[in-house]
């Protein structure tokens, strides 16, 4: 396989993985109004659990030998990926049950970002858990043994797997956001007190969004470790959360299609793509630093000129028949506002 094709498959993989991550964040933030500044921590939990359930026991001398980590179950794909998602959701349950009861959005955000920092330090320093700062490496390539894949053929294969997983996740997420459950979540996002006054259990609905969104984070993280074969704390610095937030904001909060565009632009074109470009002689980190600054400029540009994102949240039309003359007359009697903000999807 030529390096260019290999490179394009790698970029495609990251598009699919980040789509899953942004859909999860969109459910929490764009639909449910939960400002989860610890999102990357849930991605990391998914990645680590997927890794340690894919790898064999370090004592048995299998892949991963020389590292220290828990579990080491050597489970076949896709079980580790599902376990990664479930572990992230279980962690979200623990966090949400404690924090959601009493904290409002802004204070919850502070608690969550603090939690992300604490978790980062624990995993970074407590080596027996996930091998400390060195992290996990030599994670087995899923199904490579069974299908006889080498390093070259594994990349297109697993990109295809990521595409299938992304399509399944898209289907499941679309069902939620189009359903009455999605509508109720958006009502809670807009005004939790008003939604509660209409009989909506704000805690239960936000908890559901938190769990499902975290499951998406865990699966996205799991795919990344399965693809790259390694994961350590440098991959999930707390600031990485804002990369996914930037993708969601640029793409269009509250719109799953906007998330695809956001995932393509911010984490892939502005972050992954520059990693594959040749260094500028004498300035090895120049391209990556310029790319990081470019993300900031892009974010400012979008928030200034198009705060709703490139593909804004769509208006869900009632599909009711046209107004009767009676209702038209009464509506105009109380002044009709201009119809703005047309549908985008």
């Amino acid at each position: 396989m030529s390096p260019l094709v290999y490179y394009l498959f790698t970029l495609a993989f990251f598009v699919f993985a980040y789509c899953i991550l942004t859909w999860g964040l969109n459910l929490q933030f764009g639909e449910g109004g939960i400002l989860n500044f610890a999102y990357i921590a849930f991605v990391a939990i998914g990645a680590y659990i997927t890794g340690v359930t894919s790898m064999g026991s370090p004592i048995a001398g299998q892949a991963g030998s020389g590292q220290t980590y828990i579990l080491g179950w050597a489970l076949p794909f896709p079980i580790p990926l599902i376990l990664g998602g479930l572990a992230a959701a279980a962690f979200a349950l623990l966090v949400a049950v404690i924090a959601f009861r009493r904290l409002r959005t802004d204070y919850l955000a502070i608690v969550l970002i603090s939690l992300s920092l604490v978790l980062y330090d624990v995993i970074n320093n407590f080596v027996p858990l996930f091998n400390g700062a060195d992290g996990l490496s030599n994670v087995p390539e899923p199904m490579a043994d069974v299908l006889g894949l080498d390093a070259n053929s594994f990349v297109p294969f697993f990109t295809g797997v990521a595409l299938i997983v992304a399509l399944i996740m898209w289907f499941l997420m679309s069902r939620i956001t189009r359903s009455p459950a999605g509508r109720t979540l958006r009502a809670i996002r807009d005004d939790p007190e008003a939604a509660a006054a209409l009989g909506k259990n704000v805690f239960r609905h936000q908890l559901t969004a938190m769990l499902i969104g975290s499951f998406y984070a865990g699966v996205g993280g799991g795919l990344i470790i399965e693809f790259s074969g390694a994961f350590n704390t440098s991959a999930w610095l707390p600031g990485e959360t804002f990369l996914i937030f930037a993708a969601a904001i640029v793409g269009g909060i509250g719109n799953n299609k906007g998330m695809i565009l956001g995932a393509l632009i911010v984490p892939v074109l502005f972050t992954q793509l520059p990693k594959f470009l040749p260094d500028v002689p004498g300035h090895p980190a120049l391209i990556l630093n310029v790319a990081a600054m470019a993300i900031g400029v892009l974010l400012i540009f979008v928030l200034w000129f198009r705060p709703q994102g490139i593909i804004p949240e769509r208006r869900r039309l009632s599909k009711l028949p046209m107004a009767t003359p009676t209702s038209a007359a009464t509506a105009s009697a109380i002044s009709t506002p201009p119809m703005v903000g047309q549908d985008t999807q």
Binding site: S179, T184, A196, L198, S318, S327, I334, S335, P337
Partner: protein, 279 residues
């Protein structure tokens, strides 16, 4: 806001006057914010199937009482009952499920939803809010949505909002937002409706229409408790009036009788016996 002196010996006549069935009652309600006593021993009953007004000068604690009744706020002391049921410790969503629905002093439209969605989200029966039903009982969800859609369309028609059904709620005018909030509350099938200043900031023609809608709701069996400053409106549409001053129930009765009540005149009306009173 001017201070209103409340006589020490306040004759509370309300409990004697509510002879029929009581839809909602509060007993010895207290609520303080820091050192400020917003509600101080408020006790009254809301008769079932009638329109009751809660009036009083600014700072009397009316909105705090509505917040306590709706469950948006917990009282420090006292008890709230709905029929025979003690609902003091129930959160607002559980009270709403019992049929106690409220509107807000400043319209709280769900701006990121369309007008139609604002009504749909308020429907009481929504199996589609359960993800298990979303994935595995799609027929049930579809049937429920169809029924709710028909009902929402009828309410939008009734409230003159049908033509605006696909507009973002945030784009409506102030009067339209008032109508949307009331129609949304109706969609939630209230047995008891708390309206916090439903006529505030709307034009006289719309005040008349909102008044007609409230009377229509009463005729359908809905009990209404409304905070209102416009005494002409209160006199026209309300069967029963509760006067609150300094967080205490000052008097209850018919508006025509209260105009003759010396304590009410001194504490609230301040000699202005017609129209809107804002102290």
């Amino acid at each position: 806001m001017s201070e209103v002196a409340v006589p020490d010996s306040v004759p509370v006549e309300g409990e004697r006057e509510v002879t029929g069935e009581v839809a909602l009652a509060c007993h010895d309600i207290h609520k303080s914010f820091g050192g400020v006593k917003a509600v101080n021993d408020a006790t009254f009953s809301v008769p079932k199937g009638q329109i009751t007004a809660l009036i009083g000068p600014n700072g009397a604690g009316k909105t705090t009482v509505v917040n306590i009744l709706s469950g948006a706020m917990r009282c420090d002391e006292g008890q709230v009952t709905m029929g025979d049921r003690d609902i003091t410790k129930l959160p607002s969503y559980q009270r709403a499920r019992l049929g106690l629905i409220r509107t807000f002093q400043l319209s709280r439209e769900l701006g990121g939803l369309t007008v139609f969605e604002n009504l749909m989200v308020a429907a009481r029966v929504q199996p589609g809010e359960s993800l298990l039903n979303v994935y595995f009982r799609r027929g049930l969800v579809a049937r429920s949505e169809r029924d709710n859609k028909e009902r929402a369309a009828a309410i939008l028609e009734q409230y003159g909002l049908y033509e605006l059904r696909d507009s973002w709620a945030r784009e409506l005018s102030g009067g339209q937002k008032r109508l949307l909030e009331i129609s949304r509350a109706v969609m939630a099938e209230p047995t008891l409706l708390l309206l916090d200043e439903p006529m505030a900031g709307v034009n006289p023609a719309l005040i008349e229409r909102i008044g007609e809608h409230i009377i229509a709701l009463k005729n359908e069996g809905v009990t209404v408790l409304m905070v209102e400053h416009n005494l002409n409106v209160v006199e026209m549409i309300c069967d029963h009036v509760i006067v609150l001053a300094e967080g205490r129930t000052l008097a209850t009765g018919r508006m025509s009788d209260l105009r003759a009540n010396e304590n009410v005149v001194r504490a609230y009306l301040g000699g202005v016996l017609d129209g809107r009173v804002d102290s």
